[in-house]
């Protein structure tokens, strides 16, 4: 702390130059925070995946249905401790653009399978007991202004009712949410009670979309997956079972490899920052050679002067990084609001802060080390005589 005024004075010796450099770092880190948030949102499905959950789908296509009767057979596979299922409803609400996932589920089994989803106890009981019941994710409910107790008219693009109509109506009995922001994106859906849905639909009765299987030991995931798939081998409805995380990653990659895209953009941004800031730091130190020589004259050791120059780079990156990341965090509510809930919630998590700190430290080291070494080698007599 005693050297802070000295560092500060050195850093802001040329205010305009330092502020412009600082601004470029702020922008780089704001971009870093935002892009990391987008990446985290895309990967939230995989991040929220439970290692003890497996997904069983039809072997050749996830849109092929599977018999509901598989449930009991899967439950009997050694190592399996719970089974739930879900069926794709293919919903649209009011107009084409309001599409969101609606899953027909056994309420108790499904909610037990996802303990990370939060729902009021009374609402859960209402969902279990109400055949026409539905629960909606909080962000979705907020987006459309839904209230518990209201009728929820939803059209299906896939499932006609027995009367031929595609228009369904459910009773909204509860709201689901999640405490973890990485999980919250997965609650952007409506769950409907399969009991009513299966009875009222015209085709596909007794079938479901996929199974979610809870196992006792995550290290047995491969073996249990194979056991399940073996069970239905050579049947008309063969299965493909895989850990939930693998399924989520594969699903996200159908949109594009967001991670690789974000990494490439950030590498380009920080490479530019490295060159710009490195050049500015080198110039700043070059101009202050006599001042550094004076510090050495006064008794500052080579190591201390080296540390001061490095610390200046670190201070610059801490300031720029913190302001930039702060700006990214501050922008989140507005960005989340502007997407209207159509995109998983953006957030800057602790991992992103940690990664930002590592990036800042590496950049500080790379831009600070060359001038610091120059300062280290500086000979007082030569520097003071202008050599």
């Amino acid at each position: 702390m005693r050297y802070l005024p000295l560092l500060w004075a050195g850093l802001f010796r040329k205010k305009t130059r330092t502020i412009l450099t600082l601004l470029s770092i702020v922008v780089a880190f704001a971009l870093f925070g935002l892009l990391q948030a987008v990446q985290a949102a895309f990967e939230s499905g995989a991040d929220a995946a439970d290692a003890k959950r497996l997904l069983t789908t039809a072997r050749y296509s996830i849109i092929e249905p599977l018999p509901m009767a598989y449930q009991r057979r899967i439950e009997q596979v050694p190592g399996v401790v719970g089974v739930a299922y879900a069926d794709w409803f293919g919903a649209k609400y009011q107009n084409e653009s309001n599409a969101f996932p609606v899953f027909a589920v056994d309420p108790a089994r499904y909610l037990d399978m996802y303990p990370e989803f939060t729902i009021a106890r009374a609402q859960r009981e209402a969902f279990v007991k109400t055949r026409t019941g539905a629960v909606a994710g909080k962000r979705l409910a907020d987006r459309f202004g839904w209230r518990v107790g209201q009728k929820l008219p939803i059209s299906s693009e896939i499932h006609p009712k027995t009367d031929g109509s595609m228009n369904w109506e459910f009773d909204l009995v509860g709201i689901i949410d999640a405490d973890d922001p990485a999980v919250r994106g997965n609650t952007d859906m409506v769950l409907i009670n399969v009991a009513y849905f299966d009875e009222a639909r015209q085709v596909g009765k007794g079938k479901t979309g996929w199974y979610i299987v809870r196992i006792a030991d995550s290290t047995q995931a491969r073996g249990i997956s194979a056991s399940i798939d073996t069970l239905f081998m050579n049947s008309p409805d063969e299965t493909k079972t895989q850990p939930e995380k693998e399924f989520a990653i594969g699903f996200a990659k159908q949109i594009g490899d967001i991670g690789a895209l974000v990494t490439r953009i950030l590498v380009a941004v920080f490479f530019t920052i490295l060159i710009l800031t490195g050049n500015t730091m080198a110039q700043s130190i070059r101009e202050r050679i006599p001042e550094l020589a004076i510090l050495k004259t006064l008794g500052f050791s080579d190591g201390k002067v080296t540390a001061l120059v490095l610390a200046e780079a670190v201070l610059l990156l801490i300031l720029g990084g913190a302001i930039g990341m702060g700006a990214a965090v501050a922008a989140m509510p507005a960005l989340n609001g502007s997407t209207g809930g159509r995109f998983p919630p953006l957030f800057v998590g602790p991992e992103t802060w940690l990664l930002a700190a590592v990036v800042a430290a590496v950049v500080a080291l790379v831009i600070g080390l060359p001038p610091a070494l120059r300062a280290n080698r500086l000979k007082i007599v030569d520097a003071l005589s202008g050599h």
């Binding site: 005024p5 802001f12 010796r13 004076i294 004259t297 008794g299 201390k304 007082i380 007599v381």
Partner: protein
């Protein structure tokens, strides 16, 4: 009077590319404690080189330099830095203040290397500035001060850690006569009233008159015996 600086057979050779430049040729010199010595001579005579060696800014090629019983020519870079911080105050022709720091902060700089608290550092810097008559300029940056004032701040910085030895390299070379006399009177006062041993390089015979002794160098050797004022 005890000898503070004892120089024996000191030589200094610089290598500039392939060229070997011998600047000092076997200097022998004793500087007693409390002395005020003016090193004089034409440009290139080696006086600044000798001053740098006495102040521990450079190391001799040959010979020995003992200050207060310690051979400083054998100290490592780190040891020499610590020794300078504790025992030597420096005053240069162009003041060499840090332009981004106030006068107060400039004077505090050597104290950053001590264990003193921030309050104590401030107090001592304030005393040093008072001693040079600039207590009311503590918050001013160097560019807001005149040349004479800047040099007085530099002197305050040189004495703030209470060094035994004050090393001055052309301290009045950039000042007008009247201001130069003010600065020299201040240095003289530090020598006479505060017991600082002063070694000063100067071209200026009038400046040299403030010293107790004058030593002439020419082409790297001392010429004649020291002259007392």
């Amino acid at each position: 009077m005890t000898v503070l600086v004892e120089i024996r057979g000191v030589t200094k050779v610089y290598q500039r590319g392939r060229e070997r430049i011998e600047v000092l040729h076997g200097i022998d010199l004793d500087i007693p404690s409390g002395d005020f010595v003016a090193l004089m001579g034409p440009s290139g005579s080696g006086k600044t080189t000798l001053l740098n060696l006495i102040g521990g800014l450079d190391t001799p090629t040959g010979g020995s330099i003992v200050v207060q019983g310690r051979r400083i020519d054998r100290l490592s870079g780190g040891e020499l830095a610590a020794w300078r911080a504790a025992h030597v105050g420096f005053v240069f022709q162009f003041y060499n203040l840090l332009p981004a720091l106030s006068a107060q902060r400039n004077v505090e700089l050597p104290l950053l290397l001590t264990d003193l608290s921030a309050a104590e550092r401030r107090r001592r810097a304030r005393i040093a500035l008072t001693l040079v008559g600039l207590e009311d300029r503590a918050r001013h940056r160097p560019r807001e001060l005149s040349g004479g004032q800047e040099q007085r701040v530099a002197i305050a910085r040189a004495i703030v850690s209470d060094p035994t030895l004050l090393v001055c390299d052309e301290p009045t070379g950039d000042l007008d006569r009247a201001t130069a006399d003010e600065v020299l009177r201040l240095v003289q006062m530090l020598n006479r009233e505060h017991g600082k041993t002063v070694v000063m390089v100067t071209h200026d015979p009038k400046a040299a008159e403030y010293a107790r002794r004058r030593i002439h160098l020419d082409k790297g050797v001392m010429t004649g015996e020291p002259v007392s004022s």
